[in-house]
Structures are given as structure tokens and as C-alpha cells.
């Protein structure tokens, strides 16, 4: 007994010494990932990594394929997540106190202002990257079968991203935030333009309802702040993460990034020879691809021109993550996030501007609240959602501007898109619109005939013409989408840089009265 007791103690001692090694082994079951096989099983056996397929197609790794825009969006989200959690330690979501806590974050919290700057820049990078990511997906026709549903998820991610950014806008509780959200709430209230014109607002006030749902009261106040805070730090991030998980999962399920049909020819042997990076000794062939829809691997060319995700895809991912971080840090050091005076409901900002990505809408709202607030956004959201279901063509999938028309159609569409939007804006700024010419014109007429609807009509007419000319839905979609991007850019730029007090046109802010 004495003996065995002693040996048991020895055993415990031995186990204790061996524990660190065993912890490592049980955590990383497949051993050091030194061969493609062990790397594959490492990826496959890891909860977080197994969202990737074990092997990645060379086409997907080319910079020109995706420009890393989806990764940049994800990276920017991770940065806002980390910095946002840090900010939450100090931020207090109550009017006035919120502003004080912003000041504390600026002046007392160690590197607080830097962290806030990063958060703000990452949020903007995310909005831009998400929009560009959508453009990339569109212009490479990657939304096509079998990726239609993932396009819809992406569509939801765009909305969620804008909502996250918008809800975050109010939190500093400064003049900028207060009046931007007031404008945003007024945009939400814009169906009133129609119900007022029809005289049914008293019975059927959708606009007022939307505004109250958004703000939790009639004005931007404590209710709106706590509501926006909850949405910003909890509900919307959860929605976003869930949608992101589905989005990534669908990429895998749909066979990775969309590729042209003749991808093997396009790649040739050149890319293949630049590998391996590490030792590349498959112990046996395995066909994970068997459960993924797609063609059987071409004989003699490795499985589907693919490379082990570890390390090749991971380098790309981490590279983009660090690159995005670098950009956000650099911007954060160069430019401070704005913090104006404390919110004061009695002193309206003039001009009061919504966050920049809504300034295109605000520009149209300045012509007609309904058109800018509901009409055109609804058309855009509906149109974007319908794209993969209207365009059922096959030609050019996975290629930049593949399909009918190609780059020349794109160039023409840029011309029409910029030309029409700049032209309409210039006309409206220079000559005014119906209200200036006929002061008594009914509001309904302006709701239906204003620069926003005219621009939409021109774009629609142009794309119908393109559909007929090329006899292709895809060509029409390229025309319309390009025009939409041009209009978005022009209206946003005008709203951001050329609108001053009372939404008047000014070449520079130094021309504003009082300067």
C-alpha cells in the first residue's frame, strides 16, 4: 500500500509534468501542420477555421478576382468590434452624460481618442468596402446560380452595415449626431408627403409611425439614444454576425468564389509552378470536393487547380486583415473623429446633414421627401434584390464585365450615369424646379416629377434601350447598376461638399454666409 501510494504520487507528478504537452496535443490533435495533409486536417478540425474549405482555388486567391473587398469588410467589422467593446467600457448612453463620457474618452482614457478614431474610420472603411464588394460581385456576375441566395444575404448585410453605422452616429450626442439623426428620422417620416397630399395622414400615418418606431418618441432624446445604443452594440451586431456566418457558409456551399468556365485555361501552368510554399507532400488523394457541387478535377492538374487553404488562403486573409488595420490606424492618426458642441435641440445645425452615405438620399429628399425617403430607396432595394432572379444568363460569370457589352458598355454607362446625374443636378441648381416656376403647383406633382424621379426615369429608359440593343438582361443590368453607382456618387458628393445653409448650393464652405 505504501509502495503503490508512492507510485501513484509519482504518476501524478509525471502527469503534472506532462500536462502542458498533453493540453497542446488535445487542443491540436493533428500534430504540427507541416504537410498539406496535416494542415488540411488542422483546418478541418478547427471550429473557426473549418468555415474555409480545406483547399482553395487559385483563381480565388488572385488579387484581381475579389480585390479582397469582402475580407476588408470583415476585417473592418472585426476592428470596429474590438474598438467598440473598448469604447463600451467608458461610454454612458444618456443625454449630456454621453457627451461628457465622449470628452473623457478623448481627454482622459489612455489612447481613448485614438481608439475612437479607429472605430470611426473602420466603420467608414466598412461601409465603403461593403458597397464596393457589392459592385465587385455585380460586375463579375457572381450573383448567378447557385449564388442568388448569397447575393440576398449580402443585400441584408449592406442594410445592416448602414444601420450599424447610422445607429452609431447618434451616440456621441453632439450637434452633428443630433441633427444628423433628426434628418434621418425626418427621412423615415417622408411617407407623410403622400399621406398629407391625399389628406389621410390623420387615419393612416405610416411616416409618423416609422419615425416614432425609430426614435421611441417624437423628438431625438433619451429614448432614441438608448434605442440606438442597444441596436448599435447588441442587436445589429448579432444580426450582422449571423448574416455573415450564413454568407461565408454559403460561399463554401456554393463552391467558393465564382469562377469563369474556362478558368483552367486562364490560369495555365504558370501559377501552379509558383508553389509550393511549404513542403507539399500529399500522403494520399482525398476528395472533399466530392461533397461540393462542381466539376470533377481535371486529370494531371492537381485537384481543381486548388491549393491548401493553409497557408495560402490564410496569408491572404491575415494580410488583408492587417492591411485594413494599417489603413484604419493610419487614418486614425491623421484625422480625428469629429465631436462638435453638445447636442442642443434649440440650436439647429444649418445645414444639418445626415451621415455621408445618406447624403445622396438627402439630396433627393430636398426635392421631394417621399421620392428620396421612400420611393427611390425602395426601388433600389427591390431592384438590387431582384438582380439574380432577372438575370438568368450564363455568359461571362466570374469575369469582370464578362457577358454582352463588356467594358465598352460599362464606359458608355459611366458616361450616361455621370452625365445624366450631373446634368440634372446642374439644371435644378441653376434653373430651380417646379416650385420656383409655379409656386402653386400641388405637392403631388413635385412628388412624381422632381430631379430624383427624372434621373431614375432617364436611367430606366437607358437600361431598357440597352436590354433591347444587346438583347440581354445582363447588359441592361450592367447599364442600370453602373448608372445607379454614378448617381449615388454624384448625389453624395453634391450633398457632402456643395450644399450649405438651407441646402443652398455653394462651391466651397468658405462661400457660406457669415464666413
Amino acid at each position: 500500500m505504501d509502495k503503490s501510494g508512492r507510485s501513484a504520487l509519482r504518476e501524478i507528478w509525471g502527469n503534472l509534468l506532462a500536462a502542458p504537452g498533453r493540453v497542446y496535443k488535445t487542443a491540436f490533435r493533428s500534430g504540427r501542420p507541416t504537410t498539406d495533409r496535416t494542415r488540411s486536417s488542422f483546418v478541418f478540425g478547427n471550429l473557426f477555421l473549418h468555415l474555409h474549405s480545406v483547399r482553395t482555388h487559385i483563381w480565388s486567391l488572385k488579387w484581381s478576382t475579389t480585390m479582397g473587398l469582402g475580407l476588408i469588410s470583415t476585417a473592418a467589422f472585426l476592428i470596429t468590434l474590438v474598438t467598440g467593446i473598448l469604447l463600451m467600457f467608458y461610454y454612458k448612453p444618456y443625454p449630456d452624460v454621453a457627451y461628457q463620457s465622449m470628452k473623457d474618452i478623448h481627454f482622459v482614457v489612455p489612447t481613448g481618442r485614438f481608439i475612437r478614431n479607429i472605430h470611426r474610420w473602420a466603420a467608414n472603411v466598412m461601409v465603403v468596402a461593403v458597397i464596393l464588394h457589392m459592385a465587385r460581385t455585380f460586375f463579375t456576375a457572381s450573383y448567378r446560380k447557385p449564388r442568388e441566395f448569397n447575393w440576398l444575404i449580402g443585400w441584408g448585410l449592406l442594410v445592416t452595415t448602414l444601420a450599424l453605422s447610422f445607429t452609431g452616429y447618434l451616440l456621441p450626442w453632439d450637434q452633428l449626431a443630433y441633427w444628423a439623426i433628426t434628418i434621418g428620422a425626418n427621412i423615415a417620416q417622408s411617407p407623410r408627403e403622400i399621406t398629407d397630399a391625399l389628406g389621410i395622414t390623420a387615419y393612416f400615418d405610416v411616416g409618423g409611425l416609422q419615425r416614432v418606431i425609430l426614435l421611441g418618441s417624437d423628438e431625438v432624446g433619451a429614448e432614441a439614444l438608448i434605442r440606438f445604443y442597444l441596436l448599435h452594440v447588441m442587436i445589429l451586431p448579432l444580426v450582422l454576425v449571423s448574416l455573415m456566418a450564413v454568407h461565408f457558409w454559403r460561399i463554401r456551399k456554393d463552391g467558393g468564389i465564382a469562377r469563369p468556365e474556362n478558368v483552367d485555361e486562364l490560369i495555365g501552368d504558370k501559377e501552379r509552378t509558383s508553389y509550393p510554399v511549404f513542403t507539399d507532400q500529399p500522403e494520399k488523394t482525398y476528395h472533399l470536393a466530392a461533397i461540393v457541387k462542381g466539376k470533377t478535377p481535371a486529370v494531371g492538374n492537381g485537384p481543381e487547380n486548388s491549393l491548401p487553404s493553409m497557408p495560402h488562403l490564410f496569408y491572404a486573409e491575415l494580410g488583408v486583415l492587417m492591411f485594413t488595420t494599417l489603413i484604419c490606424l493610419a487614418l486614425a492618426l491623421i484625422s480625428d473623429a469629429p465631436l462638435k458642441e453638445i447636442a442642443n435641440p434649440l440650436v439647429p445645425e444649418n445645414p444639418a446633414k445626415a451621415p455621408w452615405y445618406f447624403l445622396g438620399l438627402q439630396e433627393i429628399v430636398s426635392f421631394s421627401a417621399f421620392t428620396g425617403g421612400i420611393g427611390i430607396p425602395a426601388l433600389v432595394w427591390l431592384g438590387l434584390g431582384l438582380i439574380p432572379f432577372l438575370d438568368r444568363e450564363k455568359e461571362g460569370t466570374g469575369k469582370w464585365l464578362g457577358g454582352p457589352g463588356g467594358w465598352s458598355l460599362f464606359a458608355w454607362s459611366l458616361l450616361v450615369g455621370f452625365g445624366a446625374s450631373i446634368g440634372i443636378e446642374a439644371f435644378a441648381i441653376y434653373f430651380g424646379w417646379l416650385r420656383e416656376w409655379f409656386p402653386d403647383v400641388p405637392q403631388l406633382a413635385i412628388t412624381f416629377i422632381n430631379p430624383g424621379t427624372v434621373l431614375t426615369a432617364i436611367y430606366a429608359a437607358y437600361s431598357i434601350y440597352i436590354v433591347r440593343r444587346y438583347d440581354s438582361t445582363r447588359a441592361g443590368a450592367v447599364g442600370l447598376f453602373t448608372c445607379f453607382l454614378c448617381g449615388f456618387i454624384v448625389l453624395t458628393v453634391v450633398g457632402t461638399y456643395f450644399r450649405g445653409p438651407n441646402w443652398e448650393f455653394y462651391w466651397t464652405p468658405s462661400d457660406w454666409p457669415g464666413h
Binding site: F107, P110, D174, Y315, M322, L326, P338, E341
Partner: protein
């Protein structure tokens, strides 16, 4: 695909470098770190940490002392640093009140420009040092301040009577004391306006000088005449440790601003309410016509020089103020600020002003005239003509004072002239009382060299000619200025019940006949090359017509 590896490598190196830079700049490059690491007390270096004065009831969190170490409570810095200088002795302890309560600026900030409020989005930059005492106006409101002549006279009297030899006032005087034991030094009088003072001080002094038999008392104290005693009382009641604020307010009370502007509990509503003008956000002002720096003090000063070019459409006349007056008025404007503080922080003067309606200017007729009337009727009552504004009539001319009874002038002051700039000074919040109006009428007569009213034997309403005839004459001669139906134009409205009630027919008749000096109203009895002179009977029918214009031309039965 090595470029992904390089992207990862270079980005990571870049991120690391930026993070190191951010950490270094956060921990070593901040100005307050530098200042604190140089500072020493007698016991050696101080802790490098954030310092602040917090006063929850005033709502201040002032981190100014993070750099201004010499003003940090309980720390004596011996290093030769600008930031090491201690706060000059003042009435309120900075350790209790914090810094921004008086100086403005951004207490939460820890960087120089932000803290001093010299940034775009801070509405309350620090008051310039020479205007620092304007901040007393945040809580205090000096009451019953006389016009500046009287205030200066009171100050000179205090000096002339050598009160400074025994008393200290704002750090000056009290030098007669020969040795600490003699106890000759009188009490410090710097805050008599706040703390109060013995109203029987003069009798006390007399008694002391008689009974003590001391040589010093005998040498230093003489009898003081009653007017001088009164001046000294006025002077003492104004001492609150902020001499320039009182001087500024006395200036405000001398140039007639209250005739158009409200401050606190009294004033006319023609101009903007100035009660909180010192809180204007300098970032939101229009500087297109302003030379020099974009500060509130500069804007206000320029506005006094050129009101119309500073504020578009301003009705404010150019009062031809001297540079000294402008500086003092600017000081006073900056003092018109408030802060919401709990009641326990409200000083007595503010409470008296808010709750009991005590006015901010003293109630002697001279100060009332200068504070309320002088901007329009002129310092001597001769009337004023400002470009772009209807002329303000003389009220001290012989023909006016002979024609206008005391009752008429008093009624005009009390009830005003509806539709004109003349407001109803007796019928407003904290308005003039009947006694004050009476004294003011006497003061106006004195300004006009004591011209008395020539009583009129006739009843108030005696004119009874054909009003239709009067109407024809009115159309031809009067309608151009007084309006087609007497509604007023460049000249005052004549279809005006208050005026018609107060004016006798004689007053109307004589005014038409003789005109009103200092205004464009000329005497119509005098021939002129551009029109015919009116005869007595024509003027009478005109008066009859004017009576018929006003619906409520009540007869007082006189």
C-alpha cells in the same frame, strides 16, 4: 502568391509601428506629461498623473490644474515653470469653485487649445484675462448701480476723504496703521456690497473720534457732509471685489441702453434681450465685417462701433461711444451670462433681482434718465436723429415744456406712445413707480433750465370747428408724415388713444402752430415758401378733425 505573404508582413510591421507611435505619444509626448515631469516640490518630483477639481453641485470637472500645477489644491511647486504660478488671491477659492466657473473654457480637456476653448466646437472659450471679472456676472448681479458720473464722483469722494488711509479696498490702502498693536486699521471694505455694512458708520466714527482722544483719530477724521455721506454709502453698497464690473455697469446705465434692451428684470423690448448675451457662441457669429480676432469680445466691441455692418438689419444706432466706453460696455456684455446652479449657490443679489424685482440701476431720477431715456432723447433731452430711424423729439425745449403739463409728461412716460419707440415705462414688470416718474418729470424740467408749464385757462377740449374742413387741411399738410388716416409714418401716429387722452387741445394747437424743435415737425403758423401758413381757425378745425380720428377721445371734463 508570395505577395500575400509580403502584404501580411509589411502590414503587420506597419501596424506595429503605428501602435508603438500611438503608445509613445500617449505616454510621453503629451504636453501635460512634459510639464508635470519638470515640476518639483520642495520634496522632489511630483507624481505624473491627471489632476482635477470636481464640484458636482456646480457641475464642474476642471482638469486645468493638470497643467496649471501651481493652482492645484495642496501642491506647492517650486520649479521655475510658467504653469507653477499660484492663483492670485480672490474672493472665491478656486479649489472649491473650480476654474471654468469663472474663466470659461473646457474643463474636461487636457490639451491646451481644447482646454482654453480655442477650438471650433467649444461654445465657451476662456474669457480674456482683462475681462476675467466679467465672469462674476455668471452668478452675481450688481444692483442699484448709479450712472457712471455719480459712480466716479463716489469713488473720488472716497479717495478725497482719505478713507484709504485706514481702510483697505480691493488690495489698496490701509496704510496708516503704524504698529500692529495700535489697531488703527479699519475693516477691509472690498465686499461691503455683498456682506453689507453698518449703516450707522458715520455716527460710529464721530463717537470714536470724540471719545478716543487719540491723535490719529483726531488727525485723520473730519466731519463729512451729508451729500458726501450719501455718496460714500452708494460707493460702499457697490463693493463686491469686482470694481471694473461695477464701472462697466455704470457705463451701461449712462448711455440709455435699457430704453431698448432688457437685461435681467428690466428694459425695453425694442432691441434684443441682452440677459444672456455673454454666452453667445463665438463660433456661430458672423465675422464678415469684423476686423481682428474671431472672439466674442472683439465682435461685441466692433458691434458697438458699427452696429449695422455687424448685424444685418440692425436698428441699433451708432451711439458715438468713446473707446473707453466701448471697452467697458463690452466688459458688461461679457458679464451677462448665466449658469444653472443649485439654489444654494445663488448669491443674495441674484435672488433679490429674480424674486423681488430689485432693479440693476439706482432709482435717482438722473440715473433713470441716463439709463433709460438718454439714448433716444439725448443726454440733455435735446432729442436725437439717427440715420434710418424716426427722429426722437426734444423734451427739454422751451415750447414743449411750456406746453406740456407735468401730468401730460408723466402720462406719456407711464403709458408710452403705442406704435412708437416710446414704451410704457410705468406699465411693465418692475416699471417706474408714480414717484419715480414724478421725480423724472422734475429732472426733465431741470434739464430744460427749469421751464415751467404755462397753465391754460381753457378746458382740455375747446376746439370745435368743422372737422371736414380740418380733414382737407390734414390731407394737404399732415398726411405725408402722419399717414392718410393718422396711423403714423415718419411722424408719430395721431390716431392714438393714449396720446389723445394725454394731450389737451391747446397742446395740439400750439404744437401745430409752433412746431416741435429737434424734430421735422415745423410750425405751420410760420409762412414757408413751400406751403401756405395756416390761420388760427384752420388749425382749430384741424385739431377738431384730429379729435374725431381717435375713437376713444374721452373728455376729462376739464
Amino acid at each position: 502568391m508570395k505577395k500575400n505573404k509580403y502584404l501580411l508582413l509589411l502590414s503587420s510591421v506597419g501596424v506595429f509601428a503605428l501602435l508603438v507611435y500611438a503608445a509613445v505619444s500617449e505616454n510621453f509626448l503629451k504636453e501635460w506629461h512634459t510639464i508635470q515631469s519638470q515640476a518639483r516640490t520642495t520634496e522632489g518630483p511630483i507624481d505624473v498623473r491627471l489632476r482635477q477639481i470636481v464640484n458636482p453641485s456646480l457641475g464642474t470637472t476642471d482638469r486645468c490644474v493638470t497643467c496649471h500645477l501651481g493652482m492645484s489644491p495642496g501642491e506647492t511647486i517650486v520649479s521655475d515653470l510658467r504653469a507653477a504660478s499660484a492663483h492670485p488671491p480672490v474672493v472665491h477659492s478656486p479649489a472649491e469653485m473650480g476654474c471654468t466657473t469663472c474663466h470659461g473654457g473646457q474643463g474636461l480637456a487636457t490639451e491646451r487649445l481644447d482646454a482654453h476653448g480655442d477650438v471650433e466646437f467649444w461654445p465657451e472659450p476662456m474669457l480674456p484675462a482683462r475681462f476675467a471679472y466679467a465672469s462674476c456676472g455668471t452668478c452675481h448681479v450688481p444692483l442699484e448701480v448709479p450712472n457712471s458720473e455719480r459712480f466716479e464722483l463716489a469713488g473720488r469722494t472716497f479717495e478725497r476723504l482719505d478713507c484709504y488711509s485706514c481702510h483697505r479696498l480691493d488690495g489698496r490702502g490701509g496704510t496708516l496703521r503704524t504698529s500692529p498693536s495700535t489697531g488703527m486699521e479699519g475693516p477691509d471694505l472690498s465686499q461691503t456690497g455683498i456682506r453689507g455694512f453698518d449703516s450707522g458708520w458715520y455716527q460710529g466714527h464721530i463717537a470714536k473720534s470724540e471719545e478716543s482722544g487719540s491723535e490719529l483719530w483726531a488727525k485723520s477724521f473730519r466731519e463729512i457732509s451729508e451729500p458726501d455721506q450719501e455718496l460714500l454709502n452708494t460707493f460702499l453698497s457697490l463693493q463686491m471685489g469686482a470694481p471694473r464690473l461695477i464701472e462697466a455697469k455704470a457705463t451701461y446705465n449712462s448711455v440709455g441702453c435699457a430704453g431698448c434692451h432688457v437685461t435681467g428684470n428690466f428694459g425695453g423690448e425694442i432691441g434684443v434681450d441682452l440677459s444672456r448675451v455673454g454666452e453667445k457662441d463665438p463660433n456661430r457669429l458672423n465675422y464678415s465685417a469684423i476686423e481682428g480676432d474671431h472672439s466674442l469680445s472683439n465682435w461685441v466691441a466692433q458691434h458697438f462701433r458699427l452696429p449695422l455692418s455687424t448685424v444685418e438689419g440692425s436698428q441699433m444706432p451708432d451711439l458715438a461711444l468713446s473707446d473707453d466706453q466701448i471697452d467697458l460696455l463690452t466688459f458688461y456684455m461679457l458679464s451677462l451670462r448665466r449658469r444653472s446652479v443649485p439654489d444654494i449657490w445663488l448669491p443674495k443679489d441674484r435672488v433679490r433681482s429674480m424674486r423681488f424685482g430689485v432693479r440693476e440701476f439706482s432709482s435717482d431720477p438722473e440715473t433713470i434718465y441716463k439709463a433709460v431715456c438718454s439714448a433716444c432723447h439725448g443726454a440733455n433731452g435735446g432729442g436725437m436723429r439717427y440715420p434710418g430711424l424716426a427722429p426722437y423729439p426734444s423734451i427739454t425745449s422751451r415750447e414743449f415744456l411750456e406746453l406740456a403739463s407735468d401730468e401730460f409728461i408723466a402720462a406719456t412716460i407711464t403709458k408710452g406712445r403705442p406704435g412708437r419707440a416710446m414704451l410704457a415705462w410705468g406699465e411693465r414688470e418692475n416699471g417706474l413707480t408714480a414717484e419715480e416718474v414724478g421725480a423724472l418729470v422734475a429732472y426733465i424740467r431741470a434739464l430744460g433750465n427749469g421751464v415751467d408749464f404755462i397753465p391754460d385757462a381753457r378746458p382740455r377740449h375747446w376746439a370745435a370747428r368743422d372737422p371736414r374742413n380740418g380733414e382737407t387741411i390734414y390731407r394737404a399738410n399732415c398726411a405725408g408724415c402722419h399717414g392718410a388716416l393718422g396711423e403714423g409714418g415718419e411722424g408719430p401716429a395721431l390716431k392714438n388713444a393714449a396720446f389723445m387722452d394725454a394731450a389737451t387741445d391747446t397742446f395740439l394747437f400750439e404744437t401745430i402752430a409752433q412746431g416741435r424743435s429737434g424734430t421735422i415737425m415745423e410750425g405751420f403758423k410760420t409762412p414757408s415758401p413751400v406751403r401756405q401758413a395756416l390761420t388760427d381757425s384752420e388749425i382749430e378745425s384741424l385739431v377738431t378733425y384730429l379729435r374725431s380720428l381717435s375713437a376713444s377721445g374721452k373728455d376729462f371734463g376739464k
